[in-house]
């Protein structure tokens, strides 16, 4: 229990755990076999499970995700890798129009139990086409479940849940967290999809975060604690199912809300959370709710520019003080 693993290792660990217990789980993607993935997130899989379970593909995102869908409809549980989440745009028809609609439009005749896993997010200077946080693209599509783990243990538990799910699940693996370390989970760790985790308790303001913004929010909370400001930090873990209850309950106590999201402000996931609270939690709010989100620009290359457009602990702290000063 006490031993540490990296978030990167947790990706492969979660997949391997499920491949061992279920022979129908197969992986496909670019360079995931002997090369073990460009982020090394499939390390060890080819060696342990071989070419009948781990398949290298051409650079054909539509074929990768389309084939995963066909396999999922016919008895397998494919885990497809899309190397960078930006490339979901290359197979968006499958993610948005085919996979999430199949069960519904056949009147429940077909299920599509697959996982699409992808490296998401910025902060590494990969430029505008390799740095986007696109979890909000997926949230726009009814019929997809969406997990975005923030810790190694959650990665294992949510990856396992995603693979066991009879519904299609997108798993966002944040590039910035790959090297981060955390406690290894217990054996056979599986988490429910759609249950948020309170990472820090506090009574003054509720911070809602996801994946990379969880450490950002926690860092801001730590800093603010020095000034006697108590932040409650909620890690949503999943966008769908969305654990709005946990957020609403927290706001009922703190009366203040700051949402921290990496995707752009325009149409970001935090907007949906905000609109739920501004409706169902309206009378609990004592001050304007704030969203600390990515700027509405493409991701710039230079590190100082990139830092200027994605959420930082500084900006979170500033937003928290604003909500406390007003109202």
């Amino acid at each position: 229990m006490a031993d540490l693993i990296t978030y990167r290792e947790a990706v492969a660990a979660g997949i391997a755990q499920e491949m061992r217990r279920d022979p129908t789980v197969v992986c496909l993607g670019e360079d995931i076999g002997t090369a073990e993935g460009v982020f090394k997130t499939t390390a060890g899989l080819f060696a342990e499970f071989g070419p009948q379970r781990v398949w290298d593909t051409p650079i054909s995102e539509q074929a990768i995700v389309g084939a995963a869908m066909g396999a999922a409809m016919t008895g397998l549980r494919p885990v497809a890798e899309i190397m960078f989440s930006d490339f979901l745009a290359c197979c968006w028809d499958y993610v948005a129009n085919e996979i999430p609609k199949m069960r519904y439009m056949t009147g429940g005749q077909v299920t599509v139990p697959l996982v699409v896993r992808t490296a998401n997010g910025g902060g590494l200077g990969f430029g505008a086409q390799h740095s986007q946080a696109v979890e909000n693209w997926a949230m726009a599509v009814p019929g997809l479940k969406i997990a975005a783990p923030a810790t190694p243990a959650d990665m294992v538990g949510l990856m396992a849940a995603a693979i066991r799910s009879d519904d299609p699940v997108l798993v966002f693996e944040h590039k910035q967290l790959l090297a981060s370390k955390g406690e290894a989970p217990p054996d056979d760790h599986v988490l429910p999809l759609g249950v948020a985790e309170v990472r820090r308790r506090g009574d003054d303001v509720t911070l809602v975060a996801l994946a990379s913004t969880v450490p950002t929010a926690l860092a801001a909370a730590e800093r603010l604690a020095g000034d006697g400001i108590g932040c409650e930090v909620i890690d949503l873990r999943c966008l769908v199912p969305l654990d709005a209850r946990t957020v609403l309950d927290s706001v009922a106590r703190t009366s203040r809300l700051v949402i921290v999201e990496e995707n752009p402000y325009q149409d970001g996931w935090g907007a949906t959370v905000a609109s739920i609270v501004a409706d169902e939690g309206f009378y609990d709010l004592d001050a304007p709710l704030k969203r600390v989100a990515g700027a509405c620009v493409p991701l710039p290359f230079a590190a100082n520019l990139e830092q200027a457009v994605i959420p930082t602990a500084d900006r979170v702290a500033t937003a928290v003080r604003q909500t406390l000063d007003s109202g």
């Binding site: 066909g70 069960r103 429940g108």
Partner: protein
């Protein structure tokens, strides 16, 4: 699994005719119902292309996978859907094939492994590859067949699917129903090769065959041979079946963009006429053939009545079956 004989027995031919006639009658009813306002939305009729569906089906095993397009009534029925379930779906009845949630463009018969009709051109080709990949991994001996139009050969998914299928030697058949037109535009005018499907096969080192898609026996033979190759582990085949849609592209399209001589020539080669002639050559008399047609019309008339009598879907079903648990809940 066996390769069919080139020349089917008369009983087999009669059965092929019966199925084609049933599809023809069902689509005639669909057209009339659309025109009378009982079918909403849109329909894409395959009348004139029945031989592709029925001939292919006759060459496949019952558990093989079939993937079709929005122009898929013929494939749904060929794989076992009842005219009543199809027409009820088109008429938005609770008894519809997809509980009235899919409509004409998405007919699906999962319990016969007819795994859907896809309304985004070309999208199902990679999906069919996935079913074939799954069959191969599971060692089930099944093949997957993707039916698609000539217009689908110019979209990216076509290229990615054929390359992946070839590289992985998947047991998948790519059957193009080349009816010479996309919606209102001739395929010739937007395609770099004369044979939109077969002409692309060399780019994937795949065997290809151009066949008479209005001769059900020719279709049955070509698909049977390709399926045998696929099951033997010899990989995919591209089959381009030349055929013609007798109605317009969809709904009430009169198809004015098609020269009259062309239409007439193809109507003379109506797959039902072609097969009837073959039956007569084999000693079946015309009245016997006519009886098959009238039985089909009767069966469909009964199906129409039953569908009309069926209730609309309950509004609550708009909120079922998003998820595998039957529900649609996306938040707490």
């Amino acid at each position: 699994m066996t390769v069919v004989q080139d020349e089917p027995r008369v009983e087999e031919l009669l059965e092929l005719y019966r199925r084609m006639s049933l599809i023809r009658a069902t689509e005639k009813a669909a057209y009339d119902l659309f025109m009378s306002g009982l079918v909403k939305g849109t329909t894409h009729l395959a009348s004139g292309q029945e031989a592709v569906a029925v001939g292919a089906s006759a060459a496949l095993e019952p558990d093989d996978y079939v993937f079709a397009t929005y122009r898929g009534h013929h494939h749904a029925i060929a794989r076992g859907a009842s005219p009543e379930a199809c027409l009820a779906e088109l008429m938005s009845r609770a008894t519809g094939l997809c509980a009235a949630k899919g409509g004409s463009m998405h007919l699906t018969v999962a319990d016969h492994n007819m795994l859907g009709s896809y309304a985004i051109v070309g999208a199902h080709l990679p999906i069919a590859c996935g079913a074939a990949w799954s069959a191969r991994i599971r060692g089930s001996g099944q093949v997957a067949v993707a039916f698609f139009g000539d217009g689908a050969t110019n979209i990216g998914a076509f290229h990615e699917a054929l390359n992946l299928a070839a590289v992985w030697r998947l047991p998948v058949l790519f059957v193009c129903e080349n009816n010479l037109y996309m919606e209102y535009t001739s395929i010739k005018t937007v395609t770099a090769v004369a044979q939109p499907a077969a002409g692309r096969a060399p780019a994937y080192q795949l065997p290809a065959e151009v066949i008479d898609g209005n001769d059900v026996v020719a279709v049955r033979k070509a698909v049977s041979a390709a399926a045998a190759r696929a099951r033997a582990g010899d990989g995919p085949t591209v089959i381009e079946a030349l055929t013609y849609r007798q109605y317009g592209h969809s709904r009430s399209d009169p198809g004015k963009y098609r020269p009259k001589e062309e239409v007439d020539a193809w109507l003379e080669r109506d797959p039902l006429l072609v097969l009837a002639e073959r039956l007569r050559d084999r000693g079946v008399d015309q009245p016997a053939i006519d009886r098959l047609d009238s039985r089909a019309r009767e069966e469909v008339a009964a199906a129409v009545d039953a569908a009309k009598a069926a209730p609309p879907p309950d509004e609550s079903t708009a909120f079922t079956d998003v998820w595998a648990d039957g529900g649609a809940q996306w938040r707490t």
